[in-house]
Amino acid sequence: MNKTSIALLIFIAAAIVVLISYTGDLTTYETIASAKERPGKFVNLITTIDKQHPIEYDPVKNPNYLTFTAKDSLGASIRVIYRNNKPTDMEKSDRLVLKGKVVDGQFECKDILMKCPSKYKDAPNQIVAPAAS
């Protein structure tokens, strides 16, 4: 066997090892209920903002503290604490992907990914003409 083939085998083996170890780092999407059952586990939640409860953010008091309530499609809800600034346009997004873990019944959020309804896509009902007077 020549050197090139040996190098090829070694590198491919290394690549496989890397990818297998990567699968160990991967996390999962959970529902709020299943995340609550496993406190401390790093999970991803797909949620919307529960508008029944206030979004609290007061930069005068603390610019690094945001708290709000999130609910998922199954109806469960959880208080979310995000120790960072409030993402712009958070109220407008129709879906939030929250990354973090449940601690003491609250969701300690590390990262928020927002999905805005119409960043590039047109929603038919958005075409509203100004009132013709």
Partner: protein, 813 residues
């Protein structure tokens, strides 16, 4: 119904040329192939060739006309067209009109198709033997692109999305019942604010030229496989070099845009969209190097074919990834889902499967050398390098493809907790290997190298690099301990490899090439790449947050920082006119103003260095979101030094547009009383004298009274509120407290009746309680090395391409 005021002609012209584009690209595909591969006489061949070129000309005219027509529609604000309505508005500045093209998918495909035509004509002009094969493949890609633009239905399936469609034909809305709906449709939805940036005018054209150019090496490989010949590799070298330069530049321009106008605080986030455009580049670089090996020694033809095929197919795959919406929850780039997923998958497969099939079918017949490469040969280490690049790309794309995996197998796997680290921990070793290889390999000769030649030249640079990198490791204060000592070690080793690469390539130009700059293309490119690595390593490992919240107005004590999610506390609050302590600097939010041309609101943030007397101002700005948003998009500002950037952006601010006309309304209150305000109630719980928790608000010698109040908003929020007053003798001053979330300010005015415990407070509620903003400030050391390295690398590629072209010209004459 007869609609009034519509301009139908441009759309009809546009759609006609779209169909013409479709037909002519199909005819050109067939004609180029028949002329090249048909068993026909020379005369017939010439006729087919004429037809092919005429069709290609028609195709080129079509795409240019489509561009002109769409530009006409957008620039005349014909909002009856969906594209103009969705991607532009009347207030848009002239220089961003072009950006409207690439906000939408259709415009991007048009741009891509345009570059294909451009490259096709250059290829024809160079009178290559491979014209028929390459132009045939290229035109087939054009045909596929044209199907993305026709927007017709076949048996209920939508094929493509027509950029010239009328809004009313695409969308159902009540206003289209009115024949004069255009008088109501006064303005479009506008261009996404994030794209209103000068980088967004030039980055997409360059990137798409890079995308488009990968088809030439691919097509050459296919044509070569069909013809069972390998002479195409000569032609491919220049084209692959050009492609590597432009694609690399395009990707890095995207990084520069992200750095300058996005607010994730960096230039690279391993976002799927970034990965998807970088991986084809890595594979292309692998192919370029194996191509060199074959050119000089006859090894690695198979690998070259494979890499060129893969590189182009990965471009198609990246189109699928970024435009199908499949990335959904993993990417911040919210591209549209135009319901064309099947079509996008087919676009990948229609190239990938036949190309791979052809490759394996011809695999045995591809010439390969039996004799093993020498360990002291350039080709051996070039091949190892290519292999590492290939596997690095493969790993990145596999990690990026998790959502695709989820889709196919119905799993629910999410990205890891620390996405960037998951990539960094692997790629840092790739950086080490590639850094070392780019340093050493040029000192080796093809076939075999004598030990004395290698020894004579390599010791100097090696020792110098070792000394410099040890000095940096020792004095540079690189302490990225967040990820453990192993990773920190890897950073230091990678730093050595990168510096080695810079030094070795610089000395190669002087020592071996004797300063012959003309021949130094490869060394300059490698030198640039090395500098990029140095810049990446230092700026990432030494990136520091300057805006650690040190103002003391946070009610959370510091031990909260060690909570489960960690407390970034990277935001600092500034009140207008108040000089605030921020680590190395004093910062003051002085003023803000709105620029009339683009409605950007600029904030004047003054920095004063505590050491020395450096003073400067930065002007980060925010821009009102236009697409379904009432919030603001922030644009960072940076102060550039030769060795670092101070990088700042606004994370939130209080809108003080309305002038403050409301006044404090006096109200009487007793302990236990509840008062109404516009959106809730407030209760006075108790009064405290000189409370320790408020000590920072009054001075020694003052007596302070604070009212402990609770505000309960109608929407359920509860907020503590403690207005107070500080008294010194007969003098007193109010200490006003606010609930910003409720736009509420309360003052403690006076004691009305001491015996009855009756107090007077002032209540004010309006939109502007006070002018304040929060910001994040970072310091990026040595970021300029990254940009300088990019420029050098691209220059090096172009030098190599130019030199090769000259050589060919002189050989021909």
């Amino acid at each position: 119904m007869n609609y009034i005021g519509e301009h139908l002609l441009p759309g009809q012209i546009g759609h006609f040329f779209t169909l013409l584009f479709l037909v002519s690209s199909l005819v050109a595909t067939i004609a180029f192939f028949v002329a090249g591969y048909g068993r026909i006489t020379q005369e017939e061949k010439n006729a087919w060739n004429r037809l092919a070129r005429i069709s290609f000309a028609v195709e080129t005219i079509s795409i240019l006309t489509m561009f002109a027509t769409l530009y006409y529609i957008i620039s005349h604000h014909y909002f009856e067209y969906k594209y103009a309505y969705n991607h532009s508005d009347k207030g848009l500045q002239l220089e961003y009109l072009l950006s409207c093209f690439w906000e939408g998918q259709e415009g991007s495909f048009m741009l891509w198709a345009f570059w294909h035509c451009f490259l096709g004509w250059i290829f024809i002009a160079r009178k290559s033997f491979w014209e028929n094969g390459v132009l045939g493949v290229l035109n087939f890609a054009q045909f596929c692109l044209s199907t993305m633009l026709i927007g017709l239905y076949f048996w209920g399936n939508k094929v493509g999305s027509n950029p010239f469609i009328l809004l009313r034909l695409d969308t159902e809305a009540p206003i289209f019942k009115n024949p004069e709906y255009l008088t109501l449709l006064r303005d479009g939805k506008g261009l996404n604010t994030l794209l209103q940036n000068y980088w967004m005018v030039i980055h997409p054209p360059v990137l798409f030229l890079g995308f488009a150019s990968t088809i030439i090496p691919f097509a050459l490989a296919i044509a070569g496989l069909l013809a069972k010949s390998s002479t195409w590799t000569k032609t491919a070298l220049s084209w692959a070099g050009f492609s590597a330069a432009v694609l690399g530049l395009g990707v890095m321009m995207g990084a520069a845009w992200a750095y300058e106008s996005l607010t994730f605080g960096g230039y690279w986030a391993w976002d799927p969209v970034e990965n998807a455009s970088m991986v084809p580049w890595l594979i292309l670089i692998a192919g370029l190097h194996t191509n060199l090996i074959f050119h000089h020694t006859g090894y690695s033809l198979r690998a070259t074919c494979f890499f060129y095929i893969l590189s182009f197919c990965l471009i198609l795959y990246s189109t699928f990834l970024t435009r199908s919406g499949i990335l959904g929850d993993t990417s911040v780039h919210a591209f549209t889902d135009l319901e064309m997923n099947t079509q996008l998958v087919l676009f990948v497969l229609v190239f990938f499967l036949p190309a791979l099939g052809l490759f394996f079918f011809r695999y045995r017949s591809l010439p390969a050398k039996e004799k093993e490469e020498d360990s002291y040969s350039r080709e051996f280490w070039l091949f190892i390098g290519s292999l590492v690049l290939f596997l690095s790309g493969l790993i990145i794309i596999a990690q990026t493809s998790v959502p695709v995996f989820n889709k196919i197998f119905g799993t629910k796997i999410a990205p890891p907790e620390d996405v960037e680290f998951a990539y960094n921990q692997v790629q840092i070793f790739v950086a080490i290997v590639i850094g070392l290889l780019t340093a050493v390999t040029q000192y080796l000769k093809y076939k075999t190298t004598t030990r004395s030649y290698l020894g004579k030249n390599i010791w100097g640079p090696t020792v110098l690099a070792l000394v410099i990198s040890l000095l940096i490791s020792w004095l540079g204060d690189i302490n990225y301990a967040k990820k453990g000592p192993g990773f920190l070690w890897a950073i230091h080793v990678a730093l050595f490899a990168a510096i080695y690469s810079v030094i070795a390539n610089t000395s190669y130009i002087w020592l071996v090439l004797k300063g012959k700059i003309k021949a130094a293309g490869a060394s300059v490119a490698h030198l640039g790449f090395g500098l990029m690595l140095v810049g990446i390593l230092i700026s990432s490992s030494k990136k520091t947050v300057l805006s650690w919240n040190t103002t003391g107005i946070t009610p959370l004590s510091t031990d909260n920082k060690k909570s489960a999610a960690g407390d970034p506390a990277e935001n600092i609050t500034l009140f207008k006119g108040v000089r605030t302590d921020m680590g190395k600097y004093w910062v003051t939010y002085k003023n803000d103003s709105i620029r009339s041309t683009d409605k950007k609101r600029f904030f004047d943030i003054a920095f004063e260095s505590k050491k020395g007397n450096e003073q400067f101002s930065l002007y980060p700005d925010v821009m009102k979101q236009n697409k379904g948003g009432e919030g603001f998009a922030a644009n960072p500002a940076a102060r550039h030094y030769w060795n670092k950037d101070i990088f700042v952006y606004i994370t939130s601010f209080q809108d003080t547009d309305q002038t403050d006309t409301s006044r404090f309304q006096p109200k009487n209150i007793r302990v236990g009383d509840t008062l109404m305000y516009n959106s809730g109630w407030m209760r006075l719980d108790s009064v405290s004298v000189n409370p320790a928790s408020k000590q920072h608000l009054f001075e020694a010698g003052e007596m302070a009274l604070f009212l402990n109040m609770t505000v309960e908003a109608k929407n359920g929020g509860r907020y503590p509120l403690t207005p107070g007053m500080a008294i010194r003798g007969t003098q007193w001053r109010p200490i006003i407290d606010t609930v910003v979330a409720q736009s509420l300010a309360v003052s403690f005015n006076k004691v009305v009746d001491e015996k009855k415990g009756l107090l007077e407070i002032g209540v004010k509620q309006n939109a502007s309680v006070s002018s304040l903003l929060t910001l994040k400030v970072y310091e990026f050391p040595m970021i300029n090395l990254l940009w300088l390295g990019t420029i050098l690398m691209v220059t090096g590629f172009f030098m190599a391409v130019f030199q090769r072209a000259q050589k060919r010209a002189s050989a021909a004459s």
